[in-house]
Structures are given as structure tokens and as C-alpha cells.
């Protein structure tokens, strides 16, 4: 049963067409990888799903459980279960990570008609989740991502994902800037969240991440549309041959 259906999606950014009729269906519980060369529209796809201002869908739909989310604000989408792990997590000086996590969690609970968590309940959740990702709880008292290394920022993204328990996770180049140890911690964190009720879209340029987060389906994105779909072996093929063949294919098709 499809959880996510992207249909004929056209997106412009600053008046420039980036996605050109993208179709993508992700069933419940599946992990799909989106691979593609630089400039193919990978990050645009991630942002438009999360609802970033300036990413305008001029045509098409993004259906989550059959309902179009394109008209929704980013916070409403988050409450419906969409989560974007940012390629470049932002620093927010003056907002303690703890405050941020708690505000986010309670805002989502509120939108879903659930009660707010008490302080001890919340702290217990954070401690558990942070422990698994080897995040020092003291670090969470600092401003969001302020003074965090690249790896720490990415781990912080996965911590948020673990706490918010989204239904659809979109991971945008989560492996960028990670050394091999950090990659392991982050991938383990993601794999722990794999579940029959949760779908994932893993966006990456390199196959290396997919050795750790093994996808069910691999898509190749080029010039704003999916040009090839296959199994996990497709990622290895891309690693060996590069994207050149697919760029030509997209050029011919357009």
C-alpha cells in the first residue's frame, strides 16, 4: 500500500524549473534511495516535500496516505509525519537544543490532539535516544547545533527523527561530511527506525551510505525526473559506471 505518491511533480525555484514531472511511489515500510548527479534536483525534491518556502510546485501532487500535502504549511506536514533530515542542519544560537526538541515534540502532539509530555517523561525519552546515538546530554543544553561538528549535527538530526517518530523520513545527503565511524552511528540510528509502518526516502550522491542503510528500491534522478528504477544492485552499478549514461538519457527524453 503506497504511503507516498509523487505524481507528475513540477517544481520551480527562483523561476527556474528544477523538477520536470517526477513520479515516485513508496510503499509503507519501504526504504527507497534516490541517487543522482549534482544539480539533478535531489535536494529540491527533499525541500518541496518538507514545504520550504520558495520551492514552488507548479504542477502535480505529493500524496501522503492519499492526501495532498502540497498546500500544507511545513509544521502541518511535520505533524502528519513528514520529517526531513537536513543536509546542512542550521545553527540556532540562543535556543537550547532541549527547548527545541521539547517544543517540537509537544507542538506535534498538540496538533495530533495528544497531551503534552511531562518533564520527566520527556527527559527519559531524550536520554534514551541520545544514548543510542552517543550524544552527550550536556551538549543538548547548548544552542541548537551551535559549536557542533559536522558529525554531531547529523547525529542531532537523527536524534530529532528518533524522538519525533515520523511516518515518512526524507534523508537529504545524510552521509555528507561524515567520517566512517560517524557514518556507522548515524546509519545504525536510521536502521533502528526502520519499521513496517515507516517509509524512508534516502537521498544520496554516493553508494557508500547504501551499504549501511540497505534500500529496497533505488531510483536514478536526472534533470528533474526519475530515469531508472531498480534494486539495490543499481547503486553498485552507478558507483562503477557513474551517472553519465543517465544524464544523456534524460537529455534525450526532454
Amino acid at each position: 500500500m503506497p504511503m507516498l505518491e509523487v505524481k507528475n511533480l513540477h517544481v520551480t525555484v527562483d523561476g527556474k524549473q528544477i523538477l520536470n514531472g517526477l513520479d515516485l511511489t513508496v510503499n509503507k515500510g519501504e526504504v527507497h534511495a534516490i541517487m543522482g548527479p549534482n544539480g539533478s534536483g535531489k535536494s529540491t525534491l527533499a525541500y518541496v516535500m518538507a514545504g520550504k518556502p520558495g520551492y514552488e510546485a507548479t504542477k502535480g501532487q505529493i500524496l501522503l496516505d492519499g492526501a495532498d500535502i502540497l498546500a500544507m504549511q511545513p509544521d502541518e506536514r511535520a505533524a502528519k509525519g513528514v520529517f526531513l533530515a537536513f543536509q546542512y542542519p542550521l545553527e540556532i544560537p540562543g535556543v537550547a537544543t532541549m527547548t527545541f526538541l521539547r517544543t517540537a515534540l509537544n507542538a506535534q502532539r498538540k496538533q495530533r490532539g495528544q497531551t503534552e509530555l511531562s518533564t520527566p517523561e520527556f527527559l527519559k525519552l531524550v536520554r534514551e535516544a541520545a544514548g543510542k546515538l552517543e550524544i552527550d546530554i550536556e551538549m543538548l543544553r547548548r544552542g541548537v547545533n551551535v559549536g557542533f561538528s559536522g558529525g554531531e549535527k547529523k547525529r542531532n538530526e537523527i536524534l530529532q527523527m528518533a524522538l519525533l517518530q515520523p511516518r515518512l523520513c526524507v534523508l537529504d545527503e545524510t552521509d555528507s561530511g561524515l567520517d566512517i565511524d560517524a557514518l556507522k552511528i548515524v546509519s545504525d540510528g536510521v536502521n533502528r527506525l526502520r519499521s513496517p509502518d515507516r517509509s524512508m526516502v534516502v537521498i544520496t550522491h554516493y553508494q557508500r551510505l547504501l551499504d549501511h542503510i540497505v534500500p529496497d528500491v533505488v531510483h536514478v534522478l536526472s534533470r528533474g525526473r526519475i530515469v531508472k528504477t531498480g534494486g539495490k544492485e543499481l547503486a553498485h552499478e552507478l558507483e562503477a559506471k557513474g551517472y553519465a549514461a543517465y544524464q544523456d538519457e534524460a537529455a534525450l527524453a526532454s
Binding site: A50, D75, T103
Partner: protein
């Protein structure tokens, strides 16, 4: 013939001069004080109210903003005193010694002068002026003479009451002193308060000033502060009031060697607010921070102007101001750092940031450096801009609704300045005010 062109006096200027002539017989003070008032009145007569062609008042044309002079407030009645009972609540419920002034007069029944610790003396200014208090005779009007300031001259001419505080050498005040200035009269009036605070060598004190006023008032308040050698002083001023309040405040401080001085100004109300600060470093090895946060909406105009005079070398000064502007409000920051010729090894930095929440709001920043020494580190920076859309999206992508996301970012912006306050209780109280302000914005 006088070559200097002097424009015709405005009715407000004339009215102030007349008010002085009418009131001078009744104003508190001995012969020496009368001479001080007379000289100040003459100075005001010559200077008038500051206007846009006076560089220090370029963005706050007080002469245009103060069309009329209101009569000087009379003594409060029982109802006025009752209204003042809860004044100063913006400082939260910090454990402090409250000294309350209502409509420009000391209110004994609302003040706590009992059990003053050793080394602490507090007297109402009116009493001190009338009784020939030696501290007042020695220091008043002399700490950092702001002779070119018409508003200070006017304050000196018409000063009624205020606090005279002395903290003796080496004394440590366990509790902060909270000076509460409330103008509660139901008819708009003008109020002139003046305080003198002398913290002697090695003493430790924290002073909180709360200013609030009823509709239409004109408040002119001044504080002279002496921070002795090696003393450690915190001073926090909180200003609030209705949209039609004109509040002009002057702080003149002299800081001795090896001292610590932390000043913070919090503005959360008032129609026209001018906080001017004159700080002079008189001894080496001192660290001073002048910080502030202002939250403006409606058509509020808040001006924070300061002159930081590094007369002695080897001192460090830091100015950090954050202003949040909504609606059609206007925020002004003027900071001038002067490093005199022999003040080597001065380290002075100034930073002012404005966050504009509306397209109609305006922030004017004017930092100035005047450096006559050659071995110094000085710098200034100013930013102004809207909320970062990228940060807002990041918060919203985690499920935080737009208004809440904006509130978090504004709190973070203001919080950075408020962090500079050492007293945790006061810090929390002010953050609570920020949250309340943001909540009322959302509704």
C-alpha cells in the same frame, strides 16, 4: 550682538522656564542647591530642548516630540499611592529592598528603609537637598557633568526627589536595592527625579530601577553613579509605560580603577523613550558592560545613546544592544567610544543588532569611535534585518507552528543580551516579559 542664531523658543521650552520660576521657591534645597538650580535653569534657557540639529539627538527630535510642557506632578493622594503598590512588578519577585517614589516623591509607606546593613545609607533626595547632605554637596552635578545636555540641566533645575545611596568601603549588599519610580496620577503631569549613588572602594552592590507611568506623563529622570576603585556594581533599568509616555533618562557614571560595572537597560513600553548614558573610566583595569534589550511595537520610539569615555587606559568596555521592532516603531542606537590620548591598552567593543518584524519599522544605528591613543583595540558592529527564513523553516519542519517558531527566534535574539545579567531571578523575570510581549503580539 550675539552672533549665534537662536530660534524662537517653543511653548514647551517657555513653559519649563516659567515652571521653574514659579516652583523654585518651593523646591527642596539649601543655598548651595539654589545656586546649582539657578545655573542649570540658565543653561536650559540657553540650550533649550534638544532637536535634530544637535548631533547627539539627531534621530530623536525632542523639541518636536514634546510640543507642550505638562505641569509638575503634585504629591500623590491615597488612591495614587494605592495604585503604586504593585509598581515594579516587571522585575519579578526578586528579593530586594524596595524604595518607592510616587509622582516624583519618596513614598515612605511603600518603602523599606528598615534594618539597613552596616555601611549602607539611603536617604530621599529631597531631604538630602534640604538638609545640606555632605555627599550631595560634594558630588551632585559633578560626577560626569553633561553640560551640553538641556534635559540634564532641566532635571537639575527642577529635581524634586530620588534616592541618595551610599555604600561604604568594602561593604557588600546581600540584597539588591530596587528603586521603583511610578507616576500614577490620573492627570498627565511631568516628573523630575534625581538620584545619586556612591559605591565606595571594594564595595559590592546591585541596583535595579523600575520606571512606569500613567497615561500622558513626561518623565525626566537622572542618576549619577560613582563606582569606586575595585567595586563591583550591577545596574539594571527597566522602563515601561503607555504609548503616550515621554521618558527621558540620563545616567552619568564615573568608574574607578579595577572595578566591575554591569549595566543593563530593558525597554518594553513608553511612547518616546530616550536612555542616555555617559560613562567615564577614571582608573585602569576596569571591566564594564553596557547592555540592553528593547521590544518595540505600535509607534514607539526608543533611543539608546551612550558616550563611553576611556579617560584612563587598560580598561575593557563592551556594549551589546538588541532591539526588536514591530509595527511602525523606531529604534535608535547611538554609541560613541572616546579613547583619550593616554588611555593606552583600551579594549572597547560595541555591537548593536536590530530585528525588524515589520516592513514599516525602522532602526537607526550610529556607532562612533574617537581614538586619540595608538595602542588600543576598538571595534563596532551593527546589523539589522528580518527573522531568518531558513531558521524559521527549520523549526517549522519539526512541527513548530509559525508564530511559535518566530517567538522562539525572537526570544533567542533578545536572550543573548539578557544573558549578560548576572542575577538569575531578574534574568528569568525579564525573559518572562519577553514571552508575554510575544504572546500579545500573536493575539
Amino acid at each position: 550682538m550675539n552672533a549665534e542664531l537662536r530660534s524662537v523658543k517653543t511653548s514647551a521650552e517657555q513653559a519649563f522656564t516659567q515652571a521653574y520660576q514659579a516652583a523654585k521657591g518651593k523646591l527642596p534645597g539649601d543655598r548651595k542647591v539654589v545656586a546649582l538650580r539657578e545655573a542649570a535653569a540658565a543653561r536650559f534657557d540657553a540650550l533649550g530642548l534638544p532637536h535634530r540639529r544637535v548631533e547627539e539627538w539627531k534621530y530623536t527630535d525632542l523639541r518636536a516630540l514634546m510640543r507642550e510642557a505638562l505641569p509638575i506632578a503634585g504629591p500623590p493622594d491615597a488612591a495614587g499611592l494605592a495604585r503604586a503598590k504593585n509598581a515594579g512588578r516587571l522585575a519579578g519577585d526578586i528579593d530586594a529592598r524596595r524604595i518607592v517614589f510616587v509622582d516624583g516623591r519618596f513614598a515612605a509607606e511603600l518603602s523599606d528603609l528598615a534594618d539597613l546593613s552596616a555601611g549602607l545609607s539611603i536617604r530621599p533626595m529631597a531631604q538630602a537637598l534640604a538638609g545640606g547632605d555632605p555627599l550631595v554637596a560634594d558630588r551632585l552635578g559633578k560626577v560626569v557633568p553633561a553640560d551640553r545636555e538641556g534635559v540634564v540641566a532641566l532635571n537639575t533645575a527642577l529635581m524634586g526627589d530620588g534616592a541618595v545611596i551610599h555604600v561604604a568601603k568594602g561593604a557588600t549588599l546581600e540584597r539588591p536595592i530596587h528603586l521603583v519610580f511610578a507616576a500614577t496620577g490620573q492627570t498627565p503631569a511631568s516628573v523630575f527625579t534625581r538620584s545619586l549613588v556612591v559605591i565606595e572602594q571594594g564595595a559590592r552592590a546591585m541596583l535595579v530601577e523600575s520606571h512606569e507611568a500613567g497615561a500622558g506623563h513626561q518623565v525626566n529622570t537622572a542618576l549619577e553613579l560613582v563606582v569606586g576603585e575595585g567595586a563591583h556594581v550591577d545596574h539594571i533599568k527597566i522602563t515601561s509605560g503607555p504609548d503616550d509616555l515621554v521618558h527621558v533618562s540620563s545616567m552619568m557614571a564615573s568608574i574607578g580603577a579595577n572595578a566591575r560595572f554591569n549595566d543593563f537597560a530593558f525597554n518594553i513600553g513608553g511612547g518616546v523613550v530616550r536612555n542616555q548614558t555617559f560613562v567615564r573610566f577614571d582608573g585602569e583595569g576596569t571591566l564594564a558592560g553596557l547592555r540592553g534589550a528593547s521590544l518595540l511595537n505600535g509607534k514607539q520610539h526608543v533611543d539608546s545613546s551612550m558616550l563611553v569615555d576611556h579617560k584612563a587606559g587598560g580598561c575593557q568596555s563592551r556594549e551589546v544592544f538588541a532591539t526588536v521592532l514591530d509595527d511602525e516603531s523606531r529604534g535608535v542606537f547611538q554609541g560613541k567610544i572616546v579613547v583619550r590620548q593616554h588611555a593606552q591598552k583600551t579594549d572597547a567593543r560595541m555591537m548593536t543588532r536590530a530585528l525588524l518584524l515589520s516592513d514599516e519599522a525602522e532602526a537607526d544605528n550610529k556607532p562612533e569611535l574617537e581614538i586619540f591613543a595608538d595602542d588600543v583595540q576598538c571595534g563596532h558592529g551593527a546589523t539589522s534585518g528580518a527573522l531568518d527564513e531558513g531558521l524559521k523553516f527549520y523549526l517549522m519542519a519539526r512541527g513548530i507552528p509559525e508564530t511559535e517558531a518566530e517567538a522562539l527566534l525572537v526570544q533567542a535574539f533578545v536572550g543573548e543580551a539578557i544573558e549578560g545579567i548576572e542575577h538569575a531571578g531578574l534574568r528569568d523575570a525579564l525573559m518572562e516579559q519577553v514571552v508575554g510581549w510575544l504572546r500579545s503580539r500573536g493575539s
